[in-house]
């Protein structure tokens, strides 16, 4: 099953049984249904599905208004950068409403614009940039396990959060994996435990981590594989304990912003285990902005060379 079909199915199961649920957003009940994200969705008794005007600021505020009155809702957004227009509400309105301890749910589901060749808006591909404004709970979906865990625990649960999906993954087969451990709030998952290397994937980088792990296995090296799907209030304990054992940390982060959670992990790791060998895999983004022209938008990783480097410890 493709990634988008799997996510759409999980969302549909959750929305169909939720009473008074309002689904809203542009094109959610027309055309391609946001490339299949909202295709065939239904809501429980009393709910509504609204194809909205092009007014992201107001749609974001409208979701908070519904939340204030005890009506659950999900706002689907075609591109993450459209949500920049809703920042006033993500900061000011959310900071008001969180003090009221709302008993109902409001979730925003934006599609990450990471398909490539999208031009200037592609510099914004880190949900953490928005989440950090008011420490909004946020999650990314990268595989079958995190999709199920995050959607079943958060999509229509009381409170506010943003759950993003990666457009570049839409047409790919869903990665069928099982996690060994996870943080209590589904912000972090551990998929395997190894002896030689700790691989930590951020944002929507998990598929890269899976590839690297295979290359290391080919060289007889076992690795621990983590995915950090949350963006705020992260507890690094599972990772720091693992790194103390492997002494080698690989950070793979496909986000392009300057303010990244991976740096917080590095501070945590190096302050307790300064001898750890750290390898960072990130975009090379010169300040002259040449990378802003339409480009493939994916991390260009030489897995063989990286695996060799980790195998020799150089």
């Amino acid at each position: 099953m493709r990634y988008i079909e799997y996510v759409n199915q999980l969302i549909g199961e959750a929305t169909a049984k939720t009473e008074n649920l309002v689904l809203f957003g542009q094109n959610i009940a027309a055309g391609s249904h946001l490339s299949g994200l909202t295709k065939g969705l239904s809501v429980g008794k009393g709910g509504k599905i609204i194809n909205t005007t092009n007014s992201e600021t107001s749609q974001t505020g409208m979701g908070f208004g519904l939340m204030l009155q005890g009506v659950p809702s999900i706002f689907f957004v075609k591109q993450l950068d459209f949500l920049l227009l809703g920042v006033d509400h993500l900061l000011n309105t959310y900071n008001f409403i969180r003090q009221q301890k709302p008993k109902t749910s409001f979730t925003i589901v934006p599609i990450m614009s990471d398909l490539g060749y999208h031009g200037v808006q592609s510099s914004f591909n880190n949900l953490g940039d928005i989440c950090s404004l008011a420490r909004v709970p946020g999650f990314s979906i990268t595989n079958s396990f995190d999709a199920k865990a995050i959607i079943s625990n958060h999509l229509v649960a009381p409170g506010f959060r943003i759950i993003t999906v990666g457009q570049r993954l839409f047409g790919t087969e869903i990665l069928e994996v099982e996690a060994e451990k996870s943080a209590g709030d589904q912000s972090l998952f551990q998929y395997s435990t190894g002896e030689a290397v700790t691989i930590v994937c951020f944002n929507l980088s998990f598929p890269y981590g899976v590839e690297l792990q295979k290359c290391l296995e080919d060289r007889g090296l076992s690795s621990s594989l983590f995915s950090v799907n949350g963006y705020t209030s992260l507890d690094w304990k599972l990772i720091t304990e693992d790194v103390q054992k492997t002494k080698k940390l690989v950070i793979i982060d496909d986000s392009k912003s300057a303010n990244v959670s991976a740096d917080n992990l590095l501070v945590e790791v190096l302050s307790t285990s300064p001898q750890v060998l750290v390898t960072k895999v990130r975009h090379d983004l010169p300040f002259n902005g040449t990378w802003l022209s339409p480009n493939p938008d994916t991390l260009d990783i030489d897995y063989e060379a990286l695996a060799d480097k980790l195998a020799t410890g150089v």
């Binding site: 107001s58 749609q59 208004g65 519904l66 509400h89 000011n92 009221q100």
Partner: protein, 303 residues
């Protein structure tokens, strides 16, 4: 006019004057926006609101909170950030909401409350509770894009939403003609298929009559903009000769306003208390005002 409405207008006026006295004494750490001159629309809205209706306010919300809460003490305590404040001293002035009195949200940010009010109005449709929503904005906030966006959303979804535009002609210390051309709000509403009403003159009975009609329209899925001409009273002049200029009372203390049991500030229809003299004798009003003044002073004693 019912005597009770006149009593409420006097209570809102005197309560705000008493709050201003605390301002003069330097008692507030937070900014407070006094709304002298805005009493009529607040009393009228409060009068027509039914049990499941909602009211969403803006940074200048004191008049509505006084009208809905029916008392001064918890509001003053909130402004003083003391125990017993209306919102537990967590919201202060510019965000002061009161869910128990059907004010679920108040925003300090221009234009921010309009989208939230659309959600609140939609919630009444989803829940089928027969409620309607009133949201208060101003001639400055309606310049924000959300005003236009929410008119479109309200019309597209037949929301039971009335946008109350308190037009005092000022945005902070800039008058309309110093920042933009005039906006034909009725024409804008007509273009978008939204109803429009204009209120002026501070006749509270007339306001109630028109707002009741608006509320009936909201129940039929006809969103409406109600533009209200108001004068924010309490301004003063500084400087001399050619340097003399008017200070509009946007926020902060009003140095030339004093608590008085005869609280007329301007002898014109711009002053809701002056308008009361058209229907009640001065003797009767003075007697009522003195009684209210004594009552609210007693209410806030020992704060």
């Amino acid at each position: 006019m019912e005597k009770q409405l006149a009593t409420e207008i006097l209570r809102l006026r005197l309560s705000q004057m008493l709050i201003n006295e605390h301002y003069k004494s330097g008692d507030f750490k937070i900014p407070v926006h006094i709304a002298l001159g805005h009493e009529t629309i607040a009393v009228a809205i409060d009068s027509i609101m039914e049990e499941t209706d909602s009211l969403i306010c803006s940074h200048r919300n004191m008049h509505y909170n006084l009208a809905r809460a029916k008392k001064l003490r918890p509001i003053l305590l909130e402004f003083l950030l003391k125990d017993g404040g209306l919102a537990g001293s967590t919201l202060g002035s510019m965000n002061l909401a009161n869910e128990a009195a059907n004010i679920p949200y108040t925003s300090s940010i221009l234009g921010n409350n309009l989208p939230v009010s659309a959600g609140v109005a939609l919630s009444h449709l989803v829940k089928g509770d027969d409620g309607v929503t009133f949201v208060v904005t101003g001639d400055g906030a309606m310049e924000e894009g959300t005003f236009y966006e929410v008119l479109g959303i309200a019309r597209a979804n037949d929301l039971p939403l009335a946008i109350i535009v308190e037009n005092n002609g000022w945005s902070m210390h800039t008058q309309i003609d110093e920042r933009r051309s005039s906006i034909d709000v009725s024409g804008l509403c007509a273009a978008l298929g939204v109803s429009y009403e204009h209120l002026s003159g501070n006749d509270v009975s007339k306001y109630i009559e028109i707002l009741s009609k608006v509320r009936k329209g909201l129940k039929k899925g006809e969103p409406c903009v109600v533009e209200v001409s108001v004068s924010t009273l309490g301004g003063w002049y500084v400087g001399e000769g050619e340097d003399k200029r008017f200070i509009h009372p946007h926020a902060g203390v009003l140095p030339e306003v004093s608590f008085s049991s005869w609280p007329i500030l301007e002898e014109s229809v711009a002053d809701p208390v002056y308008v009361l003299t058209k229907q009640f004798s001065e003797v009767e009003l003075k007697e009522k005002a003195e009684s209210i003044a004594t009552q609210i002073q007693e209410e806030v004693k020992n704060i």
